[in-house]
């Protein structure tokens, strides 16, 4: 008897509609800000309007006297329990780290830093009184520009004596994974090609849609914190490690969380302040930020200058790549912080067979909002640089950009392939993805149109951008993290509870915030255990329900957490087997398990897994020496990363009269291994694409000379809308990953990583014939138009064929006249 006759034969690969949607489309959601508790107090933060200032005094008397105000606290008032916002990844043992107190006592180091908190009976009363807090600031010189920070002329933290946090290098000759890059470049200067560029990765704001919110209830035996976080487990650790509250006394709950993109993996000052205030007052407290507060205080992403030297033979065969990054950490080393640029270290060489490689990053502090992981974290920066460079190399050699890539990429029959950076790519097929993408794109027709427009001098020019990306995801093998001085592991945990009445509870340590884990995890378990999809309940995001976890970021949930789930399911089956044998009066060796049933080989005798669960729940009759339970836990620590790849093709129209750009067509063919749910995958790709496209075209966090975030609201931080975007053409090739039993690779970040260079390559391609070889991101109409106006004054002003260095005499490599307002202003 079964109620699931229409169940697909396998769940994996089926476009299941999401379980999560039922509550989300009807408004029955549990966002943190929805929570109301009896006697709950509301917090409003008083934030610094200055980028760098000494706090000479804070007069809270007027605010304290305001109606319905319960307390006003400064850093001094919570100094004993406020804890510290720590970094998990000091990339070198001598990394310089400023202490990051949730509420500083003496000095603020960026605009928006919290200096006092008002606690009142309503959010309105708290906001009213916050305006009455009188802070006596003594303004200090602020360092805002990354390149200026590198000179140490003005210090972000005067007590540290330097702005430099750390320098980190990967050198293929030193680690034995390749040749000497300096030799390769020197040789190319003699008779080959040297491409030298400097690219800007502008500062971005993750801009998840749900503003952060935290509710703390200190009244029970455990302090309970509901918070809009991607990382409840990591947060609990950080609280326990720095506030004196034992880990066992803290319960962190991430209820419905409205997006993160890395932006909610932080353990934030606001969470720590809310916790401290609630503990001091013994009352439940809520803090919900405004969007303007999100923009200035939640961590930002990217923000690098990338100095790049690529060497090649005359025919375009690459011989070396040297990467020198300057990375802006903002005012403090955030949780991943200085490690974000390091995450790109293995990816600049990408899919190409460079014989020699060197990666350097030097990280600096400035008096701006702290910087941490934003969708892709380190890998978009790497992909952007190499995919832009490959286009430049193609232009230099005079061949199609796809041809130069094909000449240099790893062929499908060369996998597994150990790269010059020392990573072993397990599987991939760049030829297949590219062929499919070209076909879907209509590559040759668009090239023909491009030619026609050029020849006719059409004011609207057409460009085609290529990005044949790869990334490493599934963070991460714990031993690798340990060797990199990262403060935690990269394992993931799963538990399966077989309930007596036939349903299954799955507990995952990967805390979702929009990815659809509840659906995909149900599919995996339904297949593995042979139970109906509907009968699987996925629980997550609460340290009491899911006590172990490393949470969700770095495209890790499925490849690491999914594998933990498979292993837990296999343990359930293993535990059930002797019980089945007992019930069937057969030998375990004679049993087969399929579609949720154990059967005795060669007979029609069998028993269902859920029947065993009921039997074992009663405990009336089971073999001695066994425990009466089918439940199982598994913790999976990956042995390798996974390496999704894909070919993205983008056609952009450039209006040469205004500099406006318009996307004509976007095709991507991604290889992300085995797909659990194509619907969810497609959604992840679409969303990722638009975030990457947005970096290319629209977004940028801009500061003025005073250190005020000018793009501090959705009016000025220009997120795209439906009207600014197009429908995409997506497809897949499949080379299963060999590093996990499902064969999955991870897709959360792929679209974002791949799309940015595809778009910029297309814009440059549209106007390259006018003498342009770069437009700084975001490629605003003004920048594009100015690049056109000053064409010839761009990076390749001198003929590149002479392989002359453009980095001599410390001269800036970027011509400010070429529309580089961002770099010029900062």
């Amino acid at each position: 008897m079964t109620a699931v006759d229409d169940r697909p034969t396998t769940e994996i690969g089926t476009a299941r509609r999401r379980k999560e949607d039922a509550r989300l489309v009807t408004g029955r959601t549990r966002w943190t800000d929805n929570i109301q508790l009896p006697g709950m107090l509301h917090l409003a933060m008083v934030r610094s309007p200055f980028a760098h200032a000494r706090i000479n005094g804070i007069d809270t008397s007027e605010a304290k006297a305001a109606p319905n105000v319960i307390a006003v606290m400064t850093g001094q008032d919570i100094a004993d329990i406020q804890g510290v916002n720590i970094t998990a990844w000091p990339i070198t043992t001598d990394q310089v780290n400023p202490t990051h107190l949730p509420m500083p006592l003496e000095r603020v180091a960026h605009t928006g830093e919290v200096v006092a908190v008002v606690v009142a009976r309503s959010a309105a009363a708290a906001r009213d009184a916050a305006e009455l807090v009188d802070v006596d600031y003594e303004e200090l010189p602020a360092v805002l520009d990354l390149k200026a920070a590198a000179t140490d002329e003005v210090l972000a933290h005067p007590d540290l004596g330097t702005n430099k946090s750390a320098h980190w290098q990967l050198d293929s000759a030193a680690q034995g994974s390749g040749g000497d890059v300096e030799e390769a470049i020197a040789k190319a200067r003699e008779g080959g090609i040297v491409i030298e560029r400097e690219y800007r990765q502008q500062r971005l704001i993750p801009a998840f849609m749900e503003p952060r919110s935290t509710v703390v209830d200190p009244t029970g035996e455990q302090v309970v914190m509901w918070t809009a976080t991607q990382a409840p487990h990591v947060l609990r650790f950080c609280i326990a490690a720095t506030t004196g509250l034992p880990e066992s006394k803290i319960r962190v709950i991430a209820p419905d969380v409205g997006g993160g993109f890395g932006g909610k993996l932080q353990s934030t000052p606001e969470e720590f302040i809310t916790l401290a205030v609630a503990r001091k007052l013994g009352k439940p407290c809520k803090y919900t930020e405004t969007r303007s507060e999100t923009m200035v205080s939640a961590h930002h992403g990217r923000d690098q200058w990338q100095k790049l030297t690529l060497s090649a033979e005359k025919d375009g065969t690459v011989t070396g790549l040297k990467v020198e990054l300057l990375a802006d950490l903002g005012a403090y080393a955030a949780l991943v912080g200085g490690g974000v640029p390091v995450l790109g270290a293995w990816m600049f060489n990408a899919i190409y067979k460079f014989p020699a490689y060197q990666f350097n990053t030097t990280n600096y502090y400035t008096n701006k909002t702290w910087v941490d992981a934003y969708r892709g974290a380190g890998r978009p920066e790497a992909t952007y640089a190499i995919e832009r460079l490959m286009d430049e190399l193609a232009a230099e050699v005079g061949v199609d950009p796809l041809e130069i890539r094909e000449k240099n990429w790893i062929r499908h029959d060369e996998f597994p392939f150990t790269t010059v950076a020392g990573m072993t790519y397990d599987s991939g097929n760049y030829e297949a993805a590219t062929a499919r993408a070209k076909e879907l794109f209509g590559y040759d027709e668009l090239r023909a149109e491009q030619k026609r427009r050029r020849e006719s001098g059409d004011p609207v020019q057409l460009g085609i951008g290529v990005s044949t990306f790869t990334e490493m995801c599934g963070l991460a093998p714990s031993r690798v993290l340990g060797s990199l001085n990262y403060g935690a592991g990269g394992w993931e945990s799963a538990s399966i509870r077989m309930l007596a009445t036939g349903t299954v509870e799955v507990v995952t340590g990967a805390s979702a915030h929009g990815q659809g884990h509840e659906t995909a995890w149900s599919q995996i378990v339904a297949d593995r255990l042979g139970v109906p999809f509907e009968n699987v309940e996925v629980l997550h995001g609460d340290t009491q329900i899911a006590p172990k976890g490393m949470d969700t970021y770095g495209s890790r949930s499925l490849v690491v957490g999914g594998e933990a789930l498979v292993r837990a399911a296999d343990k359930v089956i293993e535990k059930a087997k002797p019980l089945a044998a007992h019930m069937l009066e057969a030998s375990v060796d004679d049993l087969e398990f399929a579609a949720g049933r154990f059967t005795v080989k060669g007979t029609d005798k069998g028993v269902g897994l859920t029947d065993i669960a009921l039997s074992i729940w009663t405990g009336h009759d089971y073999p001695e020496g066994l425990e009466p339970s089918l439940d199982a836990d598994a913790t999976f620590d990956p042995v390798n990363f996974s390496f999704p790849h894909g070919t993205h093709l983008c056609a952009m129209e450039v209006d040469t009269e205004t500099g406006a750009t318009r996307m004509r067509k976007y095709v991507c063919v991604d290889d992300i291994g085995v797909i659990i749910n194509p619907l969810i995958v497609e959604g992840q790709v679409h969303g990722g694409l638009v975030q990457g496209i947005a970096q290319a075209l629209w977004e940028g966090a801009e500061y003025d000379e005073q250190g005020t975030l000018v793009s501090g609201s959705f009016v000025d931080y220009t997120l795209p809308t439906t009207a600014d975007t197009i429908s995409f053409v997506t497809d897949h090739t499949t080379s299963p990953s060999t590093s996990n039993s499902l064969g999955t690779k991870g897709v959360g970040e792929a679209g974002t990583i791949a799309s940015t260079p595809a778009v910029v390559n297309a814009i440059v391609d549209a106007v390259r014939h006018l003498g342009i070889d770069d437009v700084q991101m975001p490629c605003t109409p003004e920048r594009v138009w100015k690049a056109i106006q000053s064409a010839g004054g761009t990076q390749d002003a001198a003929p590149a064929a002479d392989a002359q260095s453009h980095f001599g005499d410390g001269a800036p490599n970027q011509d400010p006249a070429a529309g580089t307002t961002d770099g010029a202003a900062q």
């Binding site: 509609r17 408004g27 929805n34 749900e210 969380v257 409205g258 809308t721 429908s727 679209g751």
Partner: protein
């Protein structure tokens, strides 16, 4: 405090509110309609979109006192007799949501869009949804869902 009477999702409420209370805060905190959410402070994101007398508005941009004597429909009032509204069903079928935070506003605006233009082109859908920001979906499936819902109503018209 000012006394207001507002019909929300078919039920009439009478409350004393401060005049400065935004409609969205009234809905969430007084009436308990927490399905309607706040995503920004500049009226750009549209997450708080509800219908006021049958027209879509951003409820952060309306004072509760301005709604006195008027009718409000939120995402929680869209389904009838336990049946999803066709737009809600279309969002589910087309995977037009991920984290779901923008979804209530998106759906409310999409319903309004089809009220004004029952058979929109893709371009008209894209123009008509420009007041709602989403960070997860890249909009592709949202546009698809609205088109699907329009197609569904077309079929039921026939």
């Amino acid at each position: 405090m000012t006394r207001i009477s507002v019909t929300v999702d078919g039920v009439s409420y009478t409350d004393e509110v401060e005049p400065r209370t935004l409609l969205v805060h009234y809905l969430r905190e007084v009436v308990g309609k927490v399905g309607t959410v706040v995503g920004c402070d500049t009226s750009n994101c549209g997450a708080c979109t509800v219908h006021l007398d049958g027209r879509s508005v951003k409820s952060c941009n309306v004072l509760a006192v301005q709604a006195d004597g008027h009718e409000v429909t939120t995402i929680e009032g869209l389904a009838t007799n336990g049946e999803l509204h066709p737009m809600q069903a279309a969002f589910h079928d087309n995977h037009a949501l991920q984290c779901g935070y923008c979804t209530p506003g998106m759906i409310m605006q999409a319903v309004d869009l089809l009220r004004e233009n029952p058979h929109p082109t893709e371009d008209e859908i894209r123009q008509g949804m420009e007041g709602n920001l989403c960070r997860c979906t890249g909009y592709h499936n949202i546009v698809k869902a609205v088109a699907a819902a329009a197609g569904a109503s077309e079929r039921s018209d026939a």
